[in-house]
Symmetry: C2
Subunit: 151 residues, 2 copies
């Protein structure tokens, strides 16, 4: 006799979980209930003091985009890199800088950055004592970043 | 002789403008430099006191998503509606409420709302004197909202 719990017949699997509407509660210290603060990417020498929280999209989601919240500690910086996919960044916490090509722009609350395809870019927090926190929206399907070198 | 300025030959047109990396500066009163505050949608009886600003995506953009900032005045509300596309909402200003199906949730800074496909939903600002302001990210390609009726 077959064990129904180990059946692989088509149609015998439980339906895939459908996402449900919900509110992710904001918490003190710029965290969200149930959302882990992960390492930005595999440890490397080209970034420092960056954490990532995925607020929407990612594994199992149906949206064509992902919404992530990044935090860069004072004196920290993201990788200097470029790629074909675009970034839309909205600053929520602290102050910092973004490098776009050869230009460096100061950033504070609400400033919104569009990073066009193939622009060499880097976010950093050279000022103050507060983390630089920002939302970053990207296409769910996107190419891998390519490291860039400073001129 | 042909007038080259009126030529329609393939290859004679100027290349389409490519979007450039840029910073949209945040301004006092939750506005962004160069971004118009538009009416939420064509005037109707099912919403009140709502304005929309498109921060990224929309006409000519390559991203698979759009980022909009909405503001709802005190006593205002968005349409009660449903649709197949999903919303991801992040509150930036003031306080308010969201209705998701039969449940009503209070909202304040940082709270993040995921509206799943076909959930009847409505945002409102029944409290206070400050506008309720939030980012709303959607797929660039999406279905039209369908008005819903209160039970």
């Amino acid at each position: 006799m077959n064990d129904p719990t180990s059946s692989c017949e088509l149609g015998s699997r439980p339906p895939a979980a459908r996402p449900e509407s919900r509110v992710l509660r904001f918490q003190p210290g710029f965290r969200w209930e149930g959302v882990p603060a992960e390492e930005y990417k595999a440890q490397g020498a080209d970034w420092c003091g960056v954490r990532r929280m995925t607020l929407a999209g990612g594994a199992g989601a149906a949206t064509a985009f992902e919404v992530r919240y990044f935090e860069i500690e004072p004196a920290g910086f993201s990788s200097l890199e470029h790629h074909a996919h675009e970034h839309v960044v909205i600053v929520l916490r602290g102050r910092g800088q973004v490098r776009l090509g050869d230009a460096v722009h100061e950033l504070s609350f609400g400033d919104t950055v569009y990073v066009a395809p193939h622009t060499v870019h880097q976010f950093s927090n050279p000022h103050g004592e507060e983390p630089l926190g920002f939302l970053c929206v990207v296409d769910a399907v996107r190419d891998r970043p390519v490291p860039a070198t400073s001129p």
